[in-house]
Symmetry: D2
Subunit: 381 residues, 4 copies
């Protein structure tokens, strides 16, 4: 079966998605459907045209509305900056399209819940690109937790830190302006960590957070002496209580010197512990109190065919998968849902869950106090 893709936003992620669709076919085989690259849109004509050629789309346009209305499109793939997700996704859903939307789903829990509800009504596939959930490492860790091998879960301690915006001479972008981004490091990076934490441990109940804007102004353009205000968090730290009784901290930074892609966390249980860092993507460290005491220590487990999602790539353990491969597994799961009606984790309800946690965190920062996460699921507010 052919699945016709209409892409909105032909930047980094637009390219990554298209790549991933292609590789999903070659990696997992054609049972999940064969992606066909129907139409690509971007506000930048050059970007749209170029994507059309390089990525192999049949047509291009600068008007995303054409994409969501196009009869020849099955999936609308949204890879624009955050602020446009809501409008495009809503229109796509209203036209009965399946929707594949980059994270975060929207700029607020309210919008996200609305989209989740709408998607449910329409009965279409609704997928948010929280690709870390598709990382075989995180799937393996979820198995460890759910199997009870780590005992009762006590704590989750995680951070997602990068130094991408540490240089104060980097100019202001949409990421620094709340009406375009919703928040700073929290929504951009922290949301990935939240997605992993909630995928594994379930909902967060309450949060208490503290945020900081270290670089308070940035040039309006490279080299300019005119400065504009940075509106959101460079750095955020959060205490969290989970519904399952676990507790811990979550933090995120876009100005952490030396951290490149440092999504890292540990999960403590009464009978074991696991820790992981995306910077060493192919290694999971796990400790079992049941090992005999003289020989007990964290085991460095390399990802391999025993871990869900890996074997489609390589026949043996320890052969490195990369970031893009998470997107390949994601694209395959999405195609599979469209073609074979299989279930998937990162639906809009999941996306709305993350956005509700984000909202509670922002509220906590403002109130300087504990805030309950609303955790409404799938119903219009």
């Amino acid at each position: 079966m052919e699945i016709r893709v209409g892409l909105v936003g032909a930047g980094w992620m637009g390219k990554a998605h298209t790549n991933a669709f292609n590789n999903a076919l070659m990696t997992f085989g054609p049972e999940a459907g064969k992606p066909v690259f129907e139409v690509v849109s971007d506000v930048s004509e050059a970007a749209a045209k170029n994507a059309s050629e390089q990525l192999g789309f049949s047509r291009w346009t600068t008007d995303w509305k054409e994409v969501v209305q196009d009869e020849r499109v099955d999936i609308v793939d949204i890879a624009t900056p955050n602020a446009f997700h809501y409008e495009v996704a809503k229109a796509a859903l209203e036209n009965g399209k399946h929707v594949y939307c980059e994270k975060p789903l929207t700029l607020s829990a309210e919008q996200s819940l609305e989209l989740a509800e709408l998607a449910k009504q329409k009965g279409v596939v609704n997928y948010v690109g929280y690709n870390n959930v598709m990382n075989p490492a995180n799937a393996y860790i979820k198995d460890l937790v759910q199997s009870g091998k780590l005992g009762e879960i006590i704590g989750f301690f995680g951070t997602y830190a990068q130094d991408s915006l540490l240089d104060p001479s980097l100019p202001i972008t949409w990421r620094h302006i709340n009406k375009f981004s919703g928040s700073g490091a929290l929504g951009d990076l922290g949301s990935h960590l939240l997605s992993v934490s909630q995928f594994i441990l379930g909902n967060i109940e309450s949060v208490n957070a503290l945020s900081k804007t270290v670089i308070k102004q940035r040039p309006v353009s490279p080299g300019s002496t005119e400065l504009a205000d940075v509106e959101n968090d460079d750095l955020i730290v959060i205490l969290a209580n989970y519904e399952n009784g676990a507790t811990g901290t979550i933090s995120s930074s876009r100005i952490a010197a030396g951290r490149k892609n440092y999504l890292t966390y540990e999960i403590q249980g009464t009978e074991g512990m696991v820790h992981y860092s995306l910077e060493r993507m192919n290694e999971v460290n796990v400790y079992f109190t049941s090992d005999n005491s003289a020989d007990r220590g964290f085991r460095t487990v390399f990802l391999g065919p025993d871990h869900k999602g890996y074997s489609a790539f390589y026949p043996a353990a320890g052969i490195a998968i990369g970031y893009n491969d998470m997107k390949v597994i994601e694209a395959h799961e999405l195609l599979s849902a469209v073609t074979n009606n299989t279930s998937y984790t990162c639906d809009f309800e999941f996306g709305a869950q993350i956005d509700q946690t984000v909202d509670a965190i922002l509220e906590s920062v403002a109130k300087q106090n504990w805030v309950q996460v609303k955790n409404k699921g799938g119903v219009t507010v």
Copy 2:
């Protein structure tokens, strides 16, 4: 010059201190004075007697009061459980003795401030055994911070975790009862991390904390089915704001599976980052944004003669120092203060500072809200 030591409490630390005095002499030479082991006391006669023989004290007693009053004693060395520090230290100070007291200084900031004030009046050396401050790694890191090589300091993220009390069949001890211990993981382990953080960054301004007692009851004795309540934190997590503008998290656990001596922290600056773990005691990881970009990465620096305190042990870098060596440096600094009136970091005021932070954290747990640390220095409350 001979410095006559009177030891109170001949357990693990009592032995470690005596060992350290001896090694201080042999490692650093006699300029700081020659320790003489005058008298040891322990409530357990066997312990006192045994220590006298094995550690080489001239006399032993089961009554600590004899020690604090003994004219032949210069330094009273207090290595009893926490609850006795205050009483013994106070009596020793009143008798005009120099005092070397294990951490935490007392069970409350109030007591500690009182002792600090008294010590100041008496003009004697007053030293708290926060030995991590003497670790050449932490001294090096302080240098990195103070030199400005890391830029402006943004954040401190640290934890001190062990799994020593993870096994629920371990019986109740004084560590679980607040009137003996003051608090749980916080005072026992967390205070070490606080000492390092405050040594390097200065005072903490405000805290917001969350604690958990996971193993709520323990056998009254090994194998017993009779259970007693655990009164304090197995696990604690804290948001912190520093007076210097930095922010971050601090946590501590005595039930973290797989963690043995995991005192670890990172300090983020606008021009660099440093991270460290006591489990890899001889390595400091530091990153400088000024390194040229293709070759930039965390440097794994082995401790060596360039780092304060190391060269007395070994002539070349990378030869492992151990935990006890922190105590050796500590004992030497203390002897030096007594003999040559040199300055030192961990005086009672410093100890009271830590205890004030601890008190604020406990108050925050109770109030479930932000609490200001009092940060009174050297004055009776």
Copy 3:
């Protein structure tokens, strides 16, 4: 420009190559030509048919001769077991095709030199799949060496170890029979390490080697009690002198418990050192004696846009590339050579160089003595 590919051998590597051609286009853009999947052959009809569907070849056949003679084929891509490389490559060259051949090039230096000479005569692109050479990490390390930043090169110490054949119940395969494989761990894994070492340091002058077959017999089929002899090295260790004056060891094993994809090496220079392990593919460790001594240590450098080959994948450092991405860079370099006549490293002469080292190592094992590597280049023996 379209480049029409004819694939011979549709196993793991056949799939990986086709994937790589596709991704090369999407990753690097169309300037290097657009691969078209013309025809695939495999002795197994099922494999050929399946590849045709899943990988998107227009036709399939069970007769590789059809592929090498097909006028619609520009590149013959050889991904069969080693023993067939020579025959297929020779026929392809004779038909004037560009040839992309998996490593090792053939079963002997003699055959490889013959092919190298023939390719030169025909003036076609002749490419051997030593993909580790395309790893941005190894390219970066070559830069470090050639820039002189590490000083004069003293030594190279490397190993490539896996435990894929440690289990003695795994049955005999072509890999254990010399007429099909040429050698054991040496030709299969060791040759990759040799390719990296020679890419960076140039030719090896002399070798002295020792090999071992630990599992001397294996079942003829899974579960069978009938056993067949393993003819070649499970484990090999080699002393080596390089033409540039460096010295060191090389080893390889297919029975090293716990090693998954442990291609690791260090290069020692008079002013620095670099070490690397493919199991942590995205990290290079480099040490410069010129760093100031208190802050000196191995730097853990994450691959990023500063390192050749990386930026086509990701816009920022530390986002993991994977094994397949080496093949993508390889496929792009190959396409580029066909389309734009650009130069490339892993030509058949390079392949013959590796095979000459392998031959000398095998001779050394037999003679139990030092053997000079012939290092003839590009001329028929």
Copy 4:
């Protein structure tokens, strides 16, 4: 019981030994005897005098002969440069003293075998300071090997590398002149690795080695332009066959940039693997093929009370021991042998075994070929 020590050579090791005797008493208790520091000698009057004061010896002298003849001396402790070991040890043995001699035992296997034989005749304790053998990590690894947990042993791959002599401006010393040192990196560092390898795996059968002097001349004194020849190996690499059937490589360097105390090795077995580095002294990495496959990986085991020698230092795992602590365990084992006639590993026969391996390696370098290790035990040549 008092054990009276006469020290010859009051440099780094002289101090370390005396320290170790003291700590042995305090750490392990008095059952093994109480060391008394009787007399110290050094050719340098200042060194002897200073040691006497700082280390607490009753007397000092510049004539070592006084020490070996002194009736009040029980143990002659030899910590001079290598070239003097033979003469002093021989005289001490002839005077019926127990002898504690630093490694390597002498400058040749012949001398060492003679001393071993003499010691046996005299029935005294004869101890060589191969302290790595006393490292709890290596003892634990020996247990792993001997218990059969790693299966049949296949290979040993080790190196001992430092960069202490990488700087070419460092002047010539006795270490560079064979009549004083016997060899270069091999005897100084490599012998430590050999001691560990032979302690764990037993004798080496045959060797094939290659050595290099990279810095061929050095200033006769700091800053001088007059140069003297370096006579021995900066770097040595060795193929080795063990009597137990294992095979592997051994190497050593004193000019390996970035390596500080890099004594590292791995032992491969058919059912597991262990690897270790002295730079991370408190961690052993072990892999068992019997772990279930999804959760299998190298375990990072921190030293703790389960490992022989550790519990005298600390009550819990993961509290770092240091280099000096190996000497403490060594001194205790030695005292114990003197006082209680207990057995010990590093006797002169063991020392002679190492020296025979060293001799065979040097012969192999000269002959450029395989050489059998003589492995004579305890008999005059």
